[in-house]
Symmetry: C3
Subunit: 153 residues, 3 copies
């Protein structure tokens, strides 16, 4: 089987670029995961996976990552992305939710909070702690708002 | 290299949610893969990969999965998702096809059957067996129809 | 951790199909990666990852792959996909860019070249070499243009 991740952090950043993909790339760089290979996952925090804000991941690594992203080429538009980790008990799995849209960071955060509540309610487990990060961006030319939970080892 | 999966099952389920992502999450829970990390793949059944309907996958695991999904927020709309596995011989690879759309489960199933036929015809190998699962859902508020082939070890 | 890829190649191909997914499948077959499981990544070439144009990957393998793809069901429409690998020094990571759109292969290639320049400029490293592949396709019924950098071991 593929090894189950043991560490994570939570990050969000926005950036401009000359194209949609380079705006995304620039947001990843600001979010500290621009030089790795994101493998998008949906989106469970493994049991005993520990928060490590100082994680340094070698360039080119394959990094399972839950993320939300929005790219816009409408100058003046406000875009936002948010992620949230919901935790019950340390030795139980948690849930990761991601969101992106044409709204403020505050709205994106509130949405994530409600999504985590719904996810835990559906699973019948207590939501004891949440970690939410969001960013917003007013598009100049081509902008990207990005929020992610990279999972690592 | 990444280890090649050895087991699989076929699943489909639909659900409502308060948001698009929680509708998706709820459909995954019903489909028995709500507490793992789906890694979306396109979409070959490895040689000698065995059907195991009783697979229990530990929470948080990274699970390579071929899937189709549709989310709709149009009340009254009929949505469907289907997946199919086409098999030639046990020791040869198979092909997985996925589909989702605004149609019935029956239409989605028929589409998958035709897609598998085309996939085997293009490869010049005989299609000896198919396993197809589909679900349909009449949207109440925000609904998701989901069908998947999780690959495991 | 997941093992970091050590080899890669660059490929592009276009095809028709009876459906969107089988057009995609047929393009993958032409691109020599139709019988493996693509895991989509964003999109760094690991340090010391070597070009190997004769790579043969076993059927069903999980293959981290950066790719761009476009599918169109508008007869007569010109579609294109391109990928590019930008390399600084062999022992440093490189950057992969992908693009697809309603344009010619030449336009897609030019776009990739500019995206690679921007990506290296943002990282403050020299872009010493690029490998770009593109394809274009005039849609008959349902067509797919696909370009990829499969990463392997």
């Amino acid at each position: 089987m593929l090894p189950t991740p043991k560490k994570y952090f939570v990050t969000a950043a926005a950036a401009e670029g000359e194209t949609a993909l380079t705006a995304f790339d620039n947001a990843l760089l600001k979010a500290r995961i621009g030089n790795v290979n994101l493998l998008r996952v949906s989106s469970i925090l493994p049991p005993n996976c520990e928060l490590d804000n100082d994680l340094v991941i070698p360039p080119g690594s394959l990094v399972p990552t839950a993320y939300g992203a929005i790219i816009s080429d409408t100058p003046g538009e406000l875009i936002a992305a948010a992620v949230g980790v919901g935790i019950s008990e340390k030795d139980q799995f948690g849930v990761i939710m991601e969101f992106s849209g044409k709204c403020s960071a505050k709205e994106a955060e509130e949405r994530i909070a409600r999504m985590l509540e719904e996810a835990f309610k559906m699973r019948g487990i207590a939501l004891n702690k949440t970690i939410i990060k969001a960013c917003e961006h007013r598009v100049e030319k081509i902008g990207c708002a990005f929020a992610a939970v990279p999972l690592w080892y």
